[in-house]
């Protein structure tokens, strides 16, 4: 009997005590706490000072991409041309463990290029391959290879046409293209005949090529480099005891790959430049108000930047710029804090005020008073877009950079 009663009591308790529900809709002010969350929104019009720009962080040959562009403008044409060099296998070819043979030339070669970014709206996209002097290097300029880009055309391929062919192969030229939908890129394979792929033994078989592109209106693509091409497969003729035999060495990559372009970016002035090639950064030093730093929490902070001129670049190549903070303020060589960053997209041709949400960064400054209150504006993908934007600096009183900060005052805890 006693056990049954205890079990009954236990059951009642378990049913009654298994859930705690305290939440109630507030009926203010009578049945709400006296304290309220107080939000302040302020526009800091003069807190950004001593801003400046620096260029040269990532050069064209350091970029992971080779940019090709043909963008006619009102006054000039933006032209960018990838250039690369493939070293040869030398004057002799290893036929066996104990025997080598002189390389007499090449029957053909197959060059593979990866188009890792393109504007699918571009029609009639054409790619032209030029033979360049093998002396091209990091000092090569647009003007220094203007001649070969005029008279050394070795192949033209219409990529749009090639994409429409059965199997995406041109039976006549031997060219083909593969669409890699996983990595969103095109693998373009060009067959070079003996004339196009001259194996010059005195040059150890080293060759250099340049690429120009064109479209119906404008064209802009990015070619991969390093692990994403370009690569060259030689089909050689080798002397073996007086007999010419065909040999196929291993695929060769391009130890040097870069791009040249014109016109070059305008020299830096008092404006705040971000982007371009070589890439430019801008530093903005912020006088972080104590009232904001001591606030309980910053819930939104927006950086306003007014473009001085329309953003430069191919119309389809919108690029992303990011705002970051620095570990220490050493001007142009300030080490950038990689932990937090806020971004916005820049559309070439636009002069609209650019807004970057920098809430994360200001929250970091509020939490760590030793952190330098300096903002760095830089392109997210450095030297991977030709686009560049220039903003008015703090000395331009009417259009200077501004911060709008929304923060919360400390809640009056412990007050009845």
């Amino acid at each position: 009997m006693t056990r049954r009663r205890l079990a009954l009591v236990g059951a009642v308790l378990l049913v009654a005590a298994c859930v705690e529900r305290l939440t109630a809709p507030g009926q203010c002010p009578d049945f709400c706490p006296s304290g309220r969350i107080t939000i302040v929104d302020t526009l800091l019009t003069s807190s950004i000072n001593r801003d400046s720009s620096f260029r040269g962080y990532v050069l064209a040959y350091e970029s992971p991409l080779m940019l090709a562009a043909h963008v006619p403008g009102a006054t000039d044409t933006l032209e960018s041309r990838p250039i690369f060099r493939v070293n040869g296998v030398g004057g002799r070819f290893l036929l066996s463990a104990t025997d080598t043979g002189a390389i007499r030339g090449a029957d053909s070669a197959r060059l593979q290029l990866y188009i890792v970014r393109r504007d699918t709206a571009t029609r009639n996209l054409r790619l032209q391959l030029y033979r360049l002097p093998i002396q091209i290097d990091t000092g090569t300029t647009f003007g220094s290879v203007a001649g070969p880009f005029t008279d050394s055309l070795v192949r033209t391929v219409n990529i749009d046409t090639l994409l429409t062919r059965p199997g995406m192969k041109d039976a006549v030229t031997g060219d083909s293209v593969v669409v890699d939908t996983t990595n969103h890129r095109l693998a373009l394979s060009l067959k070079l005949d003996t004339a196009a792929a001259r194996y010059v033994v005195t040059d150890s078989g080293t060759v250099a090529y340049g690429v120009r592109i064109a479209g119906d209106n404008f064209a802009s693509v990015a070619l991969g480099k390093g692990t994403t091409g370009p690569v060259l497969q030689w089909y050689l003729r080798v002397d073996s005891l007086g007999t010419t035999v065909a040999r196929q060495p291993s695929i060769l990559g391009a130890p040097f790959a870069s791009f040249v372009f014109a016109p070059p970016p305008a020299p830096l002035d008092s404006m705040l430049a971000v982007g371009g090639v070589p890439s430019a950064h801008s530093l903005l030093r912020v006088a972080f108000p104590k009232v904001v730093r001591d606030s309980s929490q910053i819930i939104r902070a927006t950086l306003f930047l007014v473009p001085a001129v329309a953003a430069r670049g191919a119309p389809a190549d919108s690029f992303v710029i990011e705002a970051r903070t620095v570990f220490a303020d050493f001007g142009g060589k300030s080490p950038i804090d990689p932990r937090l960053g806020d971004t916005t997209i820049i559309h070439p041709g636009s002069t609209d005020t650019v807004k970057i949400e920098v809430t994360n960064l200001l929250q970091l400054w509020a939490a760590d008073s030793t952190h330098p209150t300096t903002l760095v504006l830089r392109p997210q993908a450095e030297a991977q877009f030709l686009g560049e934007i220039r903003f008015y600096p703090s000395v331009a009183a009417a259009f200077r950079p501004m911060l709008q900060v929304t923060f919360v005052r400390r809640f009056p805890f412990g007050v009845p």
Partner: protein, 377 residues
């Protein structure tokens, strides 16, 4: 020790362990009492300093109950070492502006131990809820921010309570007179959180929190008079100084606490029938705006043997915190019973209370299930 004694002692402990296990079967919660939305704007919800037995009689037996921390003098008759604990689950419907919200909470409002230290002197220690400060309020509103109306949801949460830790001593001066006194250390804390979540996620969620610690001190005294065989009277008074709230060692508020006084009458015409009535006054208006002095009364009865009695009672009065110029009113009815095990060494008390509070457009209706265990090893 005879075998029967060993058996009954073991059974008492076993019963207590089972009861304790049942009481703690729910998730662990704060040691606090029944809360009320009336207390959100004020200091909190004052606790009920009564054992389950007393509360089942509407609180009328509280001033005479040595296990209720309301008065100290009845401790003189405790007789043997006794420990008690109580738990309660409240299901509350709060109706305001035509909207009813169902709320639920489980609390352990009373724990204590008492026992004689001499032929005429007994001491007690324990704690009870002085102020419950657990609540959770959500609010939907909007504000104009950056030129746009931004809608948001606020949630302000307080989780914790202020406990009354009592050290009491009582002595019987004669067959008719017993006196008692107590020192009350008020201590507790709340974890308070304020959160605002904007519909527009561009604005980060506001989340602030703080641990608020409370302290205070009080003294109490009481006298128990035997007026005639079966007729007793008790009078008591208590004064608490102030409640200090501190956040990170910074005092954020100092609130005066009330003085209180009360009395009661107990009439036991036979061993199987006991009647009691009591009243109390508390000067809560010292706590500031929105607080009121209160009067409370209660009347109750207990029938049957002490082994398994039937209890019932009613109480009424005022609640100290609320909007407007008049204090909210409250009225309650309760019933209960108990069961003694192991020759009275273990007792389980059960109670059921129906409470209604009204004021400022808010009506609260509460069902509370109470369970108490008492062990006399």
């Amino acid at each position: 020790m005879r075998r029967a004694d060993r058996w009954t002692g073991g059974r008492a402990v076993g019963t207590a362990v089972v009861a304790l296990a049942l009481l703690t079967a729910s998730r662990p919660v704060r040691l606090s009492g029944q809360d009320s939305q009336f207390g959100i704007r004020g200091l909190g919800t004052p606790g009920r300093w009564e054992s389950v037995r007393s509360r089942s009689t509407g609180g009328a037996f509280g001033p005479f109950d040595p296990l209720s921390p309301l008065t100290d003098a009845p401790l003189a008759d405790i007789g043997q070492l006794t420990a008690t604990a109580a738990g309660g689950t409240s299901n509350r419907n709060a109706t305001v502006g035509g909207t009813t919200t169902a709320l639920r909470a489980t609390r352990f409002p009373v724990m204590g131990v008492a026992g004689p230290v001499g032929p005429r002197v007994a001491v007690a220690a324990g704690f009870t809820t002085y102020l419950d400060k657990s609540w959770d309020v959500t609010l939907r509103d909007s504000l104009l921010l950056r030129g746009t109306v931004q809608r948001y949801t606020d949630e302000v949460v307080s989780d914790g309570s202020v406990a009354d830790v009592r050290f009491a001593v009582a002595g019987r001066l004669s067959r008719r007179i017993a006196i008692g006194a107590g020192v009350h250390v008020l201590a507790g804390s709340t974890r308070e959180t304020a959160e605002r979540r904007f519909d527009d996620s561009t604005f980060h969620t506001v989340q602030q929190s703080a641990d608020v610690r409370y302290d205070g001190l009080g003294v109490s005294g009481s006298v128990l008079l035997g007026l005639a065989p079966g007729l007793s009277m008790v009078a008591w008074a208590r004064s608490d100084n102030r409640l200090r709230a501190k956040v990170a060692d910074t005092t954020t508020a100092v609130t005066d606490l009330p003085r209180m006084a009360g009395g009661g009458l107990l009439f036991a015409p036979s061993p199987s029938a006991r009647f009691a009535a009591s009243a109390a006054w508390r000067s809560w208006s010292k706590a500031g705006a929105g607080a009121f002095d209160t009067w409370t009364w209660s009347a109750g009865a207990e029938f049957g043997s002490r082994r398994m009695p039937i209890r019932l009672g009613a109480r009424g009065g005022q609640f100290p915190f609320g909007p407007g110029t008049k204090p909210p009113t409250e009225a309650a009815a309760s019933v209960g019973t108990g069961r003694a095990f192991a020759q009275g060494r273990a007792l389980i008390d059960l109670g059921l209370e129906r409470l209604e509070r009204r004021g400022g457009g808010l009506t609260e209706r509460v069902w509370t299930v109470l369970v108490g265990i008492t062990v006399r090893p």
